[in-house]
Structure formats: structure tokens, C-alpha cells
Symmetry: C2
């Protein structure tokens, strides 16, 4: 409280580390609650892992771009935190899941279904909508040795539950199966490296058109019919059933292709029996993502009215979650929602608007100090009726207290006045309309419940 | 998926970074939900700040032990995250609150009431119950220029709400006012430094008895009557009203002392009008804490049946939140619950026991693949009736599926069998009693709701 007061420390935002106003945070928290409730409704159990993992755990797989973005911990004052350098902040929730499952393999019950809603950190160059710290919401179903295809069919049902409840507009889950394209390219004679290259170029179609993939294929000596065959597959349009039918019509392409088509058919068929409307689930072989990770089903999700947001929920099936950490084959399927990015985009696109800066609908004002006890009594009654309530206790004229109520966005202001209290009544004001009425104190919580619920 | 598989990375726990099983995490999350709901019921608004602050913000106050424990961020690969070194993980939620309020001073409405439930990090030497990463749950009420005493009276009501709802045993909020002791010591002729020293020794009484403080006072030339006077104050016993009466009976001790006694009386008086039972709030001048921070009211909270846990919720009144960052006087009052520490102690003391490893009460089994559609239909119906439900989709004998249900702690297993379905019925099993019954599918969610709610 002394010397340093004069040299004031500057307090601007830190680039890439989002922070919201109270009103915005209330909205974000509502989204997080909705996502969590949807995950729980489908029986996913919560886990939380530390923010850090050992460096060798984080880098076991190697080669990921995320690895170059890892934030290592050290001590602000050298030597005082001895072993801090051994661990770093996690850059996703998949590595921590893999480590968690490997470490606790013997204690977990499989299939292991978990959700995890946590911060992750990536030292990216901060730019439009890219954060260095952000909240991710993940679910995964992990099998021990094997995991049936129904898990892949259930995931779109969860995605659909989440985005229906979030109520941020029409959405479409795009679904594919990695084996179809790789099987097809294998059939055309491309080796693993070429296949990966082609998929990488095909992944650019949406942003850059077919130019890059066509160029790559031509440079690689492909003739027009090969190129057309590939592009036809990646760009196939029509209903899911139409696309699946035409995929099935191609015969003699090989086991991998056929397995992919069969898996995709089964997944789409069962996904629809979860009640996902046809418009919300679309087969699309043009989605590529997670080349070095996903091995079967792949998902992307978009808001139909806001394609500029890109995929807001993605994931897929993988064969091998944790072989870097444990001698078991643990296949799984999962998705991830990058909530911070989604939330900031929804705000920026005005799809969500921040509202009240309070979660409580009611402010009890205190026009006079002598009314503190009455105010407390009224507030306690409202609270015990599950109506969150704040009391304004500072000495201020009523007009100022009502201005406070209005600025914070309370729905109702209760105004205890001696003249009403003498009749066992109390006045309350609908902050939106400005209407005031007096009711018997015994009826207050009922009357307010009508207004706020 | 290739080369590295053979060199397996070890995956032990990281000392000081707690991680829970799914069943434990479910319990912890329930505690967090309860705390949050209590904070919201009293009209505190949520904020969340980044995990990092600039180094000069974190160290502005200086001298704190926590400062030596700060985790700085750097890059795992030098130079790739350029400016990471400028910021570090926060070590509490008070510095971030101060920075938040300072930065957004013009946009916030005062008194600013916020809650904040977040991870904090301290590079402590990890030992019994001390964590390097832990979740803190804070509330504060911050005034602009001034903040009335009613804020101090409201805080114990929130503490009481939280711990009544957490239902972890009888608790007592101990309350004091810093001005009483400092005023008394000032009256005895001690200067600021001596007063701080005496309070520091008095803070040890609970653990080490009166020896250290008596020794200090004797070494400082105090006569027996001085020493007795101080010890009598610090160790005063009796009801809050009795202690307050005897404090008021001492006259001529000076303004600061009298102000402290008057504030404490007012706070206790109004706190009780919030309905806090007398047994839950106790005046106790023996609580000292936060010497260089708190300036008036001080709170500590203990579980009466588990004194070994120490204070589980502490806080107090401060005059000056953010003068390092903004040219405003921002007095406030707040408390903090160290949730990770509390939770781990409750587990260790067996006050809390981890239960089910699932939040969903119902598992729908699939005795045969042909029943997948029916299982989905049943689960969808239960979910739409707000009953969280998992479907077991792996190929396994029913006995194994029921063992899964039992290991994860489901309350009910639904068993669709052709013989029942033919009659429009379905069987379900109370996993605790083992009782099975068949009901009309249309009645299933009602019947299950009775069992699980």
C-alpha cells in the first residue's frame, strides 16, 4: 500500500488471451453449461487433467505443428521452482486423454466415455480468432482392443443435441470415412506418401478451388480420367443416400474402399435412428482433416447461415490412442468444440449478443438505511424460492439505485417503502416496461417468478 | 503410429498437480456447481481472467511469498514463442481481479460484485495437501471510492449458504476486525512494525500456544499486565455477544479500537439478520491472517468436527484493491475457498466418498445387435425426459454388460428383450437391489424417474 503507488503498472490486454466482460462471460458460461448438459445426457463422464504434462509425454508423437507452440513452465526467479522445466502446458485435450487412459488403464471401465472441458494453450502468432489460450470441449469413446461402429453413429447424435440446444442457427454435420478416399487412391496406384499429399491438396479445395490438387495430380503424371475420378469423388454432391448409392455402385476398387463405404453407410443409417434430421447430417467426401490421426469416420460441423465460421465441431475415429504410453491398442472416436473461438466469432458476427451483467434477475433496493433489515428479509425469501437476488446496500438516492439496476440489466427492482410496508405490501418495478405495482409481501416471490421465468 | 512406438514414454503423476478419477471428478464438480449456485443466488456475476498476467502486474505489490513461486511461461523450443517470457501464470485471483477492475474501470458498474472460479498456480514444494495447481473459488464486492459495512455483513451469509449446501458437516465462521487489535496495541504504545510482529506471533497461538507471543512481548520489555491484556483480548472466549460486550466495556483505548469494535458489532448484528444460526458465526479476535492486506473485517471458516482441516474459507476487508494499476481508491471485501485442497482433504478424511463413475443413472443394454434400434429409441425417450442415459453398444454377453453397469455405478439397467418387446414392454433392473420388472415402454421413463430422483 506504500512506496510503489506512484509508479503505476499498465494493464492492457495480452494478445491472444481472451477475456470477456461480465455480460459476455455469462453468455459464454451458458454455452458451456449447455454443452456439458448435452454431453452428460449421453452418459459421458467428466474428467479433468492437470494443465501440464511432462515434456516427453507432450512430444512423444512428434512432428505436430502444435509442438512448436508449446508453452513450457519455468520459474520467474531462477532455481526457486526446481523441476518446473520438466513440464509444459498441454496444447490439446487428446494427449492428456491418452496419458490419462494409459496411466489408469487398470482402473478404468471400457468403453471409456469421457468429456473434458478445459483450457488449452498454443503459442500461436495471435491473429483473427486465433487464441493462445482457449477452452476446448471434447468427448471421446475409447475401446479396449476394439470399439464397435455404433460409437461412430452416436457421436453425430451428441453433436446434434449440442447445437440444437445452443440454438445458434441451422447447422450441418458433414461426415465422411477416410478409408474411401485412401482406398480409391490406393486402387489408382498411389503409395502412402502420394496419397497423403493428394489429400492435403484436396483439403484446400474449399478455400482455393480444385487448382492445387489438379496441379499436383498432373505433375504426378495422372491422366484426365484419373483426375476426374478423384475430383468426382471429393466433390460428389446430392443427398447422403444418393452419394452412398453411387459409392456402392463403384465395384472392384478394393477392400479398403469397400470397408469405408460400408462403415459410412452403417454410421449414417444408425445416426439417423437417433433422430437427427436429414438436413443436419450430410455425407461429404470433401472433408479431409486430421490426416495423420483419423483412420475411419470423420466429422465436421458448420453453421449453414454462417459458413465463414468454418468448422465449429470436428473429430473422427482413430485406431490407436495411446501406444506411445501403454502397450495396448485403444481405438476411439471423438470430437472437439473450440469454444473460445466459436464464442468470439458468434459475438463478432452478432449471432449472440451480450445481455445482462448479472445472473440474478432481482435487485432489492434500500431507499433508506432503516430498511436494511426488511430488504434482507425480502431477499432471503426470494432466494429461498430459487430466485437469485442482489441487495443494493450503498447509500444512494433511489434514482441512482434504479440506474444501477438498469445498467446491470436486472429484470425487476424491489422497492421497499414505509407506506407500502405499513400495509404488509411491497412495491416492485418491471425494469423493462417501467411498470410498478405493490403486492402483499407474501405474494412477492410468486409475482416475481411470473415475470422472470 | 510408427517408429517411436517401441520406446514407451512413462506416464506417472506429476507431483503437486492433482488429478482425480472420473468418480472423484463427478464429486468435485458437484461441489463446484454448489458453490457457483450459492454465489449466483446472492447476485455475484461470473468473470474469468486469462491464466496469465504480465510479469510486472504480478509483481507490482512485491514481497509476497507467492511471488517466488510464480510459474513463468517460455517456449519449449527457444524463439518460437517470442513474447511468452513477458507473462506468467497467476498465483491467486486477487491480482487478476485488481487488474481486471483497473483495466475496465470505466465500463464496470460499482459496487462490482464478481465471483471467479479458476485454476491458480504456485510453484510450492509439494507436500501434504499443498498443490502447485489448484482451483480457487473467490467472491469480492468492490466499491468505487467507498463501500458500506453491509457488504461485510453479507459475506458470512454467502459463506453460510455455501457450506450449508455443501453439506460436509457443521461449520463455524469466525469473524474479527483488524482495527481492534491494532488499535489496542497502538494504545499500549507499540509502533506499526512492533504491532505487525506481535500479530505475527499471536497468529501462532493455535499451533504453538502462547509461548512465542509471550516471549516476544517479554523480550520487548512488556510487563505482566500488558501481556495479560493482549492475551486476554486475543484469547477471549464466550458468545459473540459476550465478547462484544466486554470489548465495548473497555473505554479510552482510542478511535481505531472503538471503530473496530463498532464495525464488528454492526457486521455481526446484520449478519445474523441474514438468518445465519448463532452457532455458525463466532467473534474470535484470535484470527489474524492477511496482515499486509486486510484492514478491517476478517473471516475464517472451519469444520467443527474436522478442525485438522484448518480454515476452509477465509477473507476480509481491504482498503485498496488496485492502486498499483489505477488512480482510484477501490475498497472491497471478499473471501476465497481453496477448493482443490478442501476436496482432497474431504476425500482423505472420508467425509466425502467417491460414488458412481457416471453422471447418467441409466444404462440401456443391448443383449443383441438386432436390438440397437430399439435401444436407441428407448434411450432417446429417456433423454427427452431429462434422464441421462448411456447405451452399451459393444458386442458382449448380457452378464458382461450388467457387470459394466455395476462397475460404473449405474442405478438402473434397461434390458430390451424380444419376449417383452412383443408385449410393448421392456425390462429394467434396479442395480442396487437386483430387482427386475417389466413395464410398458410408454411408462418406462416415469418408473425410472421414481427410482433415480
Amino acid at each position: 500500500m506504500c512506496a510503489k503507488q506512484t509508479e503505476r503498472v499498465s494493464v492492457g490486454p495480452i494478445s491472444g488471451f481472451p477475456e470477456w466482460t461480465p455480460a459476455e462471460r455469462i453468455l459464454e458460461q451458458r454455452m458451456l453449461d449447455t454443452i456439458r448438459a448435452s454431453f452428460e445426457r449421453y452418459g459421458f463422464s467428466p474428467i479433468e487433467t492437470p494443465s501440464v504434462e511432462r515434456n516427453d509425454v507432450l512430444t512423444a508423437k512428434g512432428g505436430a505443428e502444435a509442438e512448436r507452440q508449446i508453452y513450457r513452465l519455468t520459474s520467474l526467479y531462477p532455481q526457486s521452482v526446481e523441476d518446473a522445466r520438466e513440464y509444459s502446458l498441454h496444447f490439446d485435450l487428446t494427449v492428456p486423454l491418452a496419458r490419462y487412459v494409459a496411466q489408469r488403464y487398470g482402473d478404468l471401465v471400457f468403453p471409456f466415455r469421457r468429456y473434458q472441458i478445459q483450457k488449452v494453450w498454443r503459442g500461436e502468432r495471435p491473429q483473427h480468432g486465433r487464441f493462445r489460450e482457449f477452452t476446448q470441449c471434447d468427448i471421446d469413446i475409447v475401446g479396449d482392443g476394439e470399439l464397435g461402429l455404433m460409437a461412430d453413429a452416436e457421436i453425430p447424435a451428441v453433436i446434434s443435441e449440442v447445437f440444437s440446444r445452443l440454438d445458434i442457427g441451422n447447422f450441418c454435420i458433414r461426415i465422411s470415412n477416410r478409408k474411401i478416399l485412401t482406398g480409391y487412391l490406393e486402387h489408382l496406384g498411389y503409395n502412402e506418401v502420394e496419397t497423403a499429399d493428394i489429400l492435403r491438396e484436396a483439403d484446400k479445395i474449399e478455400r482455393q478451388g480444385v487448382g492445387p490438387v489438379r496441379e499436383y495430380l498432373e505433375g504426378n503424371g495422372a491422366d484426365a480420367s484419373k483426375i476426374d475420378g478423384i475430383l468426382e469423388l471429393v466433390q460428389a454432391e446430392g443427398s447422403s443416400q444418393e452419394i452412398l448409392a453411387s459409392l456402392k455402385a463403384k465395384t472392384g476398387i478394393g477392400d479398403r474402399y469397400e470397408q469405408g463405404v460400408s462403415e459410412l453407410s452403417t454410421v449414417v443409417e444408425f445416426a439417423s435412428s437417433f433422430g437427427i434430421p436429414e438436413a443436419n447430417l450430410q455425407v461429404d467426401l470433401g472433408i479431409i482433416r486430421g490426416l495423420d490421426y483419423y483412420t475411419g469416420t470423420i466429422y465436421e460441423t458448420r453453421l449453414l447461415d454462417h459458413p465463414q465460421l468454418g468448422s465449429i465441431c470436428s473429430g473422427g475415429r482413430y485406431d490407436d490412442l495411446a501406444s506411445y504410453y501403454v502397450g495396448r491398442t485403444l481405438p476411439g472416436v471423438g470430437i472437439s468444440i473450440g469454444l473460445s473461438r466459436l464464442f468470439s466469432q458468434l459475438l463478432r458476427a452478432d449471432i449472440l449478443q451480450a445481455g445482462a451483467a448479472t445472473v440474478a434477475p432481482v435487485l432489492v433496493t434500500t431507499p433508506d438505511e432503516s430498511l436494511y433489515r426488511k430488504a434482507i428479509e425480502i431477499a432471503s425469501d426470494l432466494r429461498s424460492n430459487d430466485i437469485s437476488t442482489e441487495i443494493y446496500f450503498e447509500k444512494a438516492r433511489l434514482a441512482r439505485q434504479l440506474r444501477y439496476a438498469s445498467r446491470k440489466g436486472f429484470k425487476v427492482a424491489v422497492i421497499p417503502l414505509d407506506e407500502d410496508l405499513a400495509d404488509g405490501k411491497v412495491r416492485f418495478r418491471d425494469m423493462e416496461s417501467g411498470d410498478e405495482q405493490s403486492v402483499l409481501i407474501a405474494n412477492l416471490s410468486n409475482e416475481i417468478a411470473k415475470l422472470v421465468k
